[in-house]
């Protein structure tokens, strides 16, 4: 990341955004035209190399993406469901291979058989209508279960928009400090994975000296298996928007940026509509509801890079830089977007704010456990009888989610990968020991993370799953830090060789590699990968020991 480039990008503000322009330029063919890239780099005073470097980073901007029309989901849930090879067969009879690309997790983990075609996602039985889809004749919507145990903070439907925004109106009559205090009392911790208390973040941003601040919503829900942010954006968009506005009011930020992954076209459309609606009803812009508070939204459509879910990479991405992870400090709340103080929070976290403001911080703090307050959304994949999005109070036994809300497994499952690719691999016999909160998972050697659940069937080889995780990391590594850039590829090669030829893994070497990545990596991608692999080594030793020296 370059501070200079952040400044230069920031000169144009958010109305004219380099990253967005590159996306627009790529729309026709799948990759931006070099002449247009040169024009943009001159306009933004970037080097040619910077724009080239940016374009080459993203799955949906890079040259190799040229001509791709249909994208098959290669996420973990579709992988373990085993649906994608027959899906590809069906597609290949209708589309030449060069027009077919891959996308990593379309958030259709409940139905699988997921693919993307011309700005729409399809899953489940949709493949059977592939001819109509290619002719743009079919509109197939997915469906999944929702439900809750405890307080429905996020899943409760809200009233129509105008009266729902009464919460904002009330907030605007109170001082930002008072509202910050409510948030402090609520004990709300970030739902993106790190669990950092949001009130500290907002306070730090608020205190940083600057005339410009930003609220950025990390809606780059890249964890294969997770689709709870998609649920919020598509079903509860105003909880998120209002949450961001209140955060803006508290910190003194006048811009809210939603960074939404390209793999969620429906989410982008719905959020756009929701913002339009707010604009139309005078709930955005200057002096909102007659107050001194002014706020605007900007949606940035991501272009296919898992690492952008890491907050500093996300900020660089918005700036049109290569989304490489930045060192901290400076923290985004001190020097974030365009080097200005910035709050970056996950969708689910921000969407909780209206509830907290409506019912008070104390009320929210009463939900959940001592250290993990509130509720948590959980995404269940297609291996469950009732796949879907469920909201439970923190501290709810995992078994109630699995067997109660989810209705148990459809088939024989040996483990669940919970909390995304960097979460723990939970063998089914550990279900009884876990409750849904940060501490319970950590104490048992797992990670709650974003609380997505991907099941690994009995017959799915653990060796292949580990190889998949290394491959995923190698594909998504930004390449900045040595342990992740080199280690993920070498790890993939070790497992690939063990699966495909007579190579047997040197256990000491693997343990060295895992430790190097875990303690040496710059961010959670390289640092987090060893956890599920170590879980697999612990719990599935018998299955994989034949591949070791």
């Amino acid at each position: 990341m370059s501070k200079n480039l952040s400044y230069l990008s920031g000169r144009k503000g958010l109305d004219f955004n380099l990253f967005e322009e590159l996306g627009i330029a790529a729309k026709a063919t799948g990759t931006p035209d070099p002449v247009e890239m040169e024009r943009l780099r001159n306009e933004f005073l970037f080097g040619s190399a910077n724009v080239y470097g940016t374009v080459s980073f993203y799955d949906f901007l890079k040259k190799e993406n040229e001509g791709k029309e249909l994208f098959v989901c290669n996420g973990s849930a579709c992988l373990t469901a085993g649906t994608q090879s027959s899906l590809k067969d069906k597609i290949s009879s209708l589309l030449p291979a060069e027009k077919v690309g891959e996308m990593c997790c379309l958030g259709r983990c409940h139905e699988n058989s997921a693919f993307h075609y011309q700005g729409r996602n399809y899953s489940g039985d949709a493949i059977n209508q592939i001819r109509d889809i290619l002719d743009n004749k079919a509109a197939v919507k997915d469906s999944y279960q929702t439900g809750h145990i405890g307080t429905p903070v996020l899943t409760a439907p809200y009233s129509e928009v105008a009266s729902y925004y009464q919460i904002l109106k009330n907030c605007l009559t109170r001082s930002p400090e008072e509202l910050l205090d409510e948030l402090k009392k609520s004990g709300l911790r970030g739902r993106g994975g790190a669990g950092f208390p949001i009130a500290f973040k907002l306070a730090s941003c608020k205190e940083a000296p600057s005339d410009v601040r930003f609220i950025v919503c990390n809606a780059d829900e890249g964890d294969p298996g997770a689709y709870s942010d998609r649920y919020i954006m598509e079903e509860r968009p105003h909880a998120l928007l209002m949450g961001m506005m209140i955060a803006g009011y508290i910190t003194g930020a006048a811009w809210g940026v939603l960074y939404i992954r390209a793999e969620y076209p429906e989410s982008i459309r719905i959020m756009e509509e929701a913002i339009h609606h707010l604009n139309d009803t005078g709930l955005l812009g200057q002096n909102i509801l007659g107050s001194s508070f002014s706020f605007r939204f900007k949606i940035i459509k991501a272009q296919g890079a898992y690492i952008c879910g890491e907050e500093t990479a996300l900020l660089s991405s918005i700036e049109g830089q290569r989304p490489e992870v930045r060192v901290r400090p400076p923290y985004p709340t001190q020097q974030g977007l365009f080097n200005k103080p910035t709050v970056v929070n996950n969708v689910e976290t921000l969407a909780c704010i209206p509830y907290i403001m409506q019912y008070g911080g104390d009320n929210y703090a009463n939900i959940g456990t001592e250290k993990s307050k509130g509720t948590k959304l959980i995404s269940l994949d297609g291996h469950f009888r009732k796949p879907g999005i469920y909201e439970v109070d923190m501290g709810t036994p995992l078994s109630e989610v699995i067997y109660g809300l989810g209705g148990g497994f459809k088939s024989n499952i040996k483990a669940m990968h919970i909390g995304g690719p960097l979460g723990g691999l939970v063998p089914v016999h550990k279900i009884k020991d876990l409750t849904v909160d940060f501490e319970s998972f950590a104490q048992n050697g797992f990670l709650l993370g974003h609380a997505s659940v991907v099941c690994i069937p009995e017959e799915f080889p653990m060796m292949e799953y580990i190889r998949h995780l290394f491959q995923f990391t190698a594909h998504e590594s930004c390449g900045k830090c040595f342990p992740c850039r080199l280690g993920s590829t070498r790890g993939f090669e070790m497992f690939d060789k063990a699966l495909n030829d007579s190579y047997r893994i040197d256990r000491n070497l693997l343990m060295d590699l895992l430790e190097t990545m875990e303690i040496g990596s710059l961010c959670a991608l390289g640092g987090g990968l060893p956890l599920p692999i170590k879980n697999a080594l612990t719990y599935f030793e018998d299955e994989i020991k034949a591949y070791f020296q």
Partner: protein, 909 residues
């Protein structure tokens, strides 16, 4: 160290005091040296980056507390924390990371260019790698080398992806030529749109090569190779920035150059001239023997022969026409000691004040203007003040080309969105990043500065306190400025008055504002007046006498400050003492122990006139190519031809040397010692790197020789001794000795106790109070007389790759990067004359005409053209005029009335 008030952290259980902003690595390096913790992606002049992770250490917040591994380069030190640099876990981590690196690195150390100077090799040895355990996998060892560039080389099979090159290109040079492409394991350094070095926008500064820890990016001179007999620290001979260079020597030949990180001036950076353009020094074209013109031919002669020939001639001329028929032009390229000797020779041995130097044609208005306003004709502040300022005004200077290292610092400033005002007829590189670009018509600086002053006054933004305490003459100055017709000035400059107003307000309201100016200020008929108005601007806003403010001329040549300091001008002797004052004359006479003239001497343009009029019979030129670089070439040639004796000290047979009666082969900066004074008054040591080429002599030795031959006992050229002599007569050199200059020199004035001065005029001006002077804009005579017939204005400029007449740079591989002068012309003007990019254009002025290749660009406004005079093939000065600054006689290179037409053939005047 364990004082309760000072926060400490413990490294391997021993306490060390923490300083503000310490990272763990900084703390460790400061206390335990730079080798305790290995690093790969860290570099002295770059921001912490955190990619290699080799610098990781274990940290516990309390003694015996839970330990966390952290990269020391970017982790701030927590007070009271316990840092462990070498735990088993850390040792293993480092070893394992390096093992991973070696899975994708050619293990060909013994034949590698950087063998024994490779940071990867060092770290691998330090962590003790014996074996790579991974099975054979994907590698990038087959990556092709890029050898397209005359200087830069790239071999990405050696790349470890530490990004140091990318960061150097960004954080140091501000060029963004390098980036990474792709991601993850396949990410790879690219130049531009993944083109070769040669095709890219690379400015060849070499910062990336110096930053690279391996040989992935290097240069053709293999500057990172350890093969050198010795390394000598010296000062660059090109521009007035004064970069320190570290020159590697093998067998008395220069092998390569790097920039020392501890250099106060350039902090490990320099430009392609400093780093790469040295091969002129032993070029076959070097003159290696004295030459005397015999029967019209320059014929080799011995030194003794040449000296006695000259001595006889000079004595005869002096006898017949008097000493004032002889003149000398010293060189701002030579050392202080040589310049001092040159003026001493002319004054004390010849007996005339006919001494001048090339400052006349560049910054003489700066010296004069600033002397009139402040009392001192030198930069008020230091370059490091860029770090402390809030607003920078760059007027008539193109530092990214002319003063690349300072230019890079200014660009870094501007890129960050800090208030930058560029006043220039061209949209120069800095203008692209500037807050305000006031793109005025050439020659209207005085009008524009009046507009700025006007708005500062009407907006009530003067620093009244400063004005009343430190200045005089403000009231009449103010009423004069306010009487200006602002709409008329807007019309004259062609810059919207609202824009000027905004810029003026920005300058005046900045807590600290500093200005930089160059030849776009001085080389005008109102050059001195412009300098004084810039000084006025600083005074009315109180921007004088503290860090981050002031008036800072970007001195052109490496030692143009020094040449003037040493007395190479007719009216002021060494130390700027008035040469026409009888009192001072007695002082000089006592000091030199001989009679010193009191009469008025010629300035350079007057010398040419005097020669043409038959009054001047002999001219001694030390390293000056007046034919190619002074304006109105034909007139200069006429002056040269009219002389009875023209002695030229030179490295090469320049356009001027071709007219010489005697040529004395001088030595280059690499072959001699002495001192240069840079644009921020910093006196720095130039140290002999190699012996002078056989047959050549240091210019100072030549002057000493002729002084001795002519009966003045000067001894040999010993820089230390001469410096001692200088310190006795030049007041602001009082405390300077060869020894105490150290590595980074001293900024004058240097007090007798050796303390130097970063900022001038902190309490009071040299002349007591600063003096306001007002000047009205006056159109250049050149345009008044010729604009009707010659409706275009051509303004001259410089390109990064070449230095002035190009005598040196054209004899390096720089010509492969830039091989000719071109004419910058706006597409509208080009269309009017059916000129296309690359066409030859005949540019004609009242003096003559030249043919030059067109380059269409909107960098210039319609009606304005621009070009350079680096190449004798064009000889642009055929068309420049001899209109000059009314006060200092600096020629007006920047405003020349011309006409253009598309031309077929190649015409050379």
């Amino acid at each position: 160290m364990t004082d309760n008030k000072i926060p400490v952290a413990y490294i391997n259980d021993k306490p060390y005091a923490i300083e503000q902003g310490d990272t763990i690595l900084k703390l460790i390096k400061r206390n335990l040296g730079k080798n305790l913790v290995p690093t790969l992606c860290d570099a002295p002049n770059l921001e912490p980056f955190g990619s290699c992770r080799v610098c990781s250490v274990d940290v516990a917040l309390t003694k015996g507390g839970q330990v966390k591994t952290q990269a020391s380069c970017h982790t701030p030190v927590m007070p009271g924390s316990y840092i462990y640099t070498d735990t088993e876990r850390i040792k293993k981590l480092r070893k394992n990371i390096i093992e991973l690196v070696l899975t994708d690195h050619p293990l060909d150390c013994l034949t590698c260019e950087v063998n024994n100077n490779c940071e990867l090799q060092t770290v691998a040895a330090q962590v003790g790698i014996r074996k790579v355990r991974y099975p054979e996998g994907k590698t990038h060892l087959d990556r092709q080398k890029d050898l397209s560039h005359p200087y830069m080389t790239m071999d990405l099979s050696k790349c470890i992806n530490c990004y140091r090159c990318v960061r150097a290109c960004d954080e140091v040079q501000g060029e963004f030529v390098l980036s990474m492409s792709g991601r993850g394991f396949d990410s790879r350094i690219i130049k531009g749109n993944d083109v070769s070095f040669f095709e890219s926008d690379c400015v060849s500064c070499g910062a990336c090569a110096q930053a690279c820890p391996t040989s992935a990016i290097s240069d053709v001179f293999e500057s990172k190779s350890v093969v050198a007999d010795k390394k000598v620290r010296t000062v660059c001979t090109y521009c007035g920035v004064g970069c320190n260079l570290e020159v590697a020597v093998v067998n008395n030949e220069v092998k390569s150059i790097q920039a020392p990180y501890d250099a106060a001036v350039n902090q490990g950076h320099t430009c392609l001239k400093g780093r790469f353009a040295f091969s002129f020094y032993n070029h076959p074209d070097r003159i290696r023997t004295p030459l005397i013109r015999k029967n019209g031919e320059l014929t080799p002669a011995s030194w003794d022969e040449a000296y006695s020939f000259i001595a006889e001639k000079l004595t005869a001329i002096k006898k017949e026409y008097g000493p004032d028929a002889i003149a000398g032009i010293s060189s701002a390229r030579c050392t202080n000691e040589e310049n001092y000797l040159m003026q001493k020779f002319i004054r004390a041995v010849i007996g005339t004040n006919n001494i001048d130097c090339c400052a006349r044609v560049c910054h003489s208005p700066t010296a004069l203007g600033m002397q009139r306003t402040f009392g001192t004709g030198a930069a008020t502040n230091s370059i490091e003040d860029i770090k402390h300022t809030d607003c920078i005004l760059v007027i008539g200077a193109n530092p990214t080309d002319g003063h690349p290292v300072t230019g890079a610092k200014l660009k870094q400033f501007a890129m960050k969105g800090k208030t930058t005002i560029v006043v220039d007829p061209r949209r120069i590189e800095l203008a692209k990043y500037a807050t305000y670009h006031l793109q005025l018509r050439p020659g209207t600086n005085v009008a524009l500065l009046n507009m700025m002053l006007y708005y500062i006054m009407t907006e009530g933004l003067e620093d009244k306190d400063f004005i009343s305490r430190r200045t005089e003459g403000y009231e009449s100055f103010k009423s004069h400025v306010l009487s200006q017709n602002i709409d008329e000035l807007e019309e004259i400059t062609g810059v919207p008055k609202e824009l000027v107003k905004k810029a003026a307000i920005a300058y005046a309201t900045a807590p600290n504002a500093m200005s930089f100016h160059g030849l776009g200020v001085t080389e005008h008929s109102q050059g001195t007046f412009t300098v004084m108005l810039i000084a006025d601007l600083a005074m009315i806003t109180g921007n004088i006498g503290r860090p981050g403010v002031g008036v800072n001329p970007l001195r052109g040549q490496n030692n143009v400050q020094g040449a003037a300091d040493m007395g190479c001008q007719p009216h002021q002797g060494a130390g700027y003492l008035n040469a026409y004052d009888p009192e001072i004359n007695r002082q000089y006479e006592a000091f030199y122990g001989t009679k010193i003239p009191l009469g008025k001497g010629y300035k350079i343009p007057e010398m040419f006139e005097a020669s043409i009029n038959g009054k001047l019979k002999a001219l001694w030129l030390m390293g000056e190519d007046v034919v190619q670089t002074d304006p109105n070439t034909q007139k200069v040639i006429k002056a040269m031809e009219n002389l009875d004796l023209l002695v030229v000290q030179e490295l090469f047979l320049t356009e001027t040397a071709k007219y010489a009666t005697v040529i004395l082969p001088g030595a280059s900066f690499l072959e001699k010692s002495g001192t240069y004074t840079n644009g921020e008054r910093r006196i720095q040591k130039v140290q002999k790197v190699v012996e002078p080429l056989p047959g050549t002599r240091p210019d100072g030795q030549i002057i000493c020789d002729i002084m001795n031959v002519m009966g003045f006992n000067q001894g040999d050229y010993e820089p230390g001794k001469i410096l001692q002599e200088i310190a006795q007569i030049v007041p602001f050199f009082a405390g300077v000795t060869w020894e105490n200059l150290g590595t980074n020199g001293k900024q004058w004035p240097v007090k007798p106790d050796g303390t130097d001065t970063k900022i001038l005029h902190t309490e009071t001006f040299k002349i007591g109070k600063g003096k306001f002077h007002h000047f009205d804009f006056e159109e250049s005579k050149e345009l008044v007389q010729h604009a009707k017939e010659y409706p275009y204005i051509i303004t001259t400029n410089r390109e990064l790759e070449h230095y002035n007449a190009g005598t040196m740079t054209r004899r390096t591989r720089n010509v492969q990067i830039l091989k000719e002068d071109v004419l910058l012309i706006h597409p509208e003007d080009a269309a009017r004359h059916f000129i296309q990019d690359g066409d030859m254009v005949c540019v004609e002025s009242p003096r003559g005409k030249v043919d030059i290749k067109a380059r269409l660009t909107d960098e210039v406004k319609p009606g304005v053209l621009s070009s350079t005079f680096h190449f004798p093939e064009v000889m642009l000065n055929m068309i420049t005029s001899d209109v000059h600054d009314s006060e200092a006689m600096c020629p007006e290179y920047k405003v020349v009335a011309v006409n253009i037409r598309k031309s077929k053939g190649k015409y050379k005047g």
